[in-house]
Symmetry: C2
Subunit: 176 residues, 2 copies
Amino acid sequence: MGVSVPATSVPPNSLGGDLGWTLGVLFRAYLKAADAVTAELPGGPRGRQILTCAVRDEPRSQSALAQLLGVDRTVMTYLLDDLVDAGLVERRPDPSDRRSRLIVATEHGRAVLDNLDHRLGQVEEHLLGGLDDDERDRLRTLLQHVATSINAADPVSDTCEVVQDIGVTSARKHPY
Amino acid sequence: MGVSVPATSVPPNSLGGDLGWTLGVLFRAYLKAADAVTAELPGGPRGRQILTCAVRDEPRSQSALAQLLGVDRTVMTYLLDDLVDAGLVERRPDPSDRRSRLIVATEHGRAVLDNLDHRLGQVEEHLLGGLDDDERDRLRTLLQHVATSINAADPVSDTCEVVQDIGVTSARKHPY
DNA sequence: GACAGATGTTCTGTCGCTCAGACGATCTGT
DNA sequence: ACAGATCGTCTGAGCGACAGAACATCTGTC
């Protein structure tokens, strides 16, 4: 169900095995769905992730939050401005470092997050409609492992070195 | 290996099970790696996907290509301009429709793609370093299923209806 | 304690990218 | 033959991201 589409008969494409393509398709679809769900939330899907951390984790500084979510620190500033204005989170002075602010959720923020999560969960299930329950769990688990692994090794880049190791062995100076 | 990071001791985060976060982390990491590999290719990672289709699939029109890759048709125009300028693909008149152009790869394009795919393959494996071989295969397969399913049902949106069905049951007019 | 350098947050300016809209050319149906 | 839709292209406007500077604060060394 949900997959059968007699119309337009999508022609076969060679990107099925392409990690970049599959990720892109799924991520764009997710973003569209999440955008719809979080339409009224400042910051959209990213605002929800910030809120999730603020509710469920130990309070983080803005920069820690920014790195975790993969956004620039200057962007985090106005993302939080909007969330604070909406009364969803607070900036608390860090007792151990007066430069940084710890982000914590308000009661209102918790309530909003519960509502969002509920709706987002349904949309996600719809998104993974092509998989049965077992496969969905496996996919989520695998993604969690990969993301955790990448996030742990992240301290930025790390990729560049790999690329260099592999070597830009050909077509070096000619721009193709 | 690769995962062990004694430094900074990443604190636990509640986003591990979050589909959006895991996808985001993986996709950003992929994009960074792919950007590095395709640094000299017009269009970067997207240019490579176009090239892949041009080499391996039946020739497609620009708009079909644009929809498959999830880019705006106006963007596809100058992406192709650059690829054509680089001598990687050609715009051929479609014998059955003089409005559209079919995108096909040149010999040069094929050679470049082979080189790119080889290097990208290595980077991808590094990216999935947190998983063993078996898990990598499973992840790729699951992603392929989901992406194919989504792509088949895609004819744009479809999400909005779901969101409406679920209902914006609360916090309706108050902007949080 | 005094200092140099590093880090957290914010502000400013700039750049690139994306999308909406309009246009001409062409196809399709009536 | 005509109306409406579609393909590719071009233009303009707007948004978002990043670099850099500024200020406050921390950490280490002397």
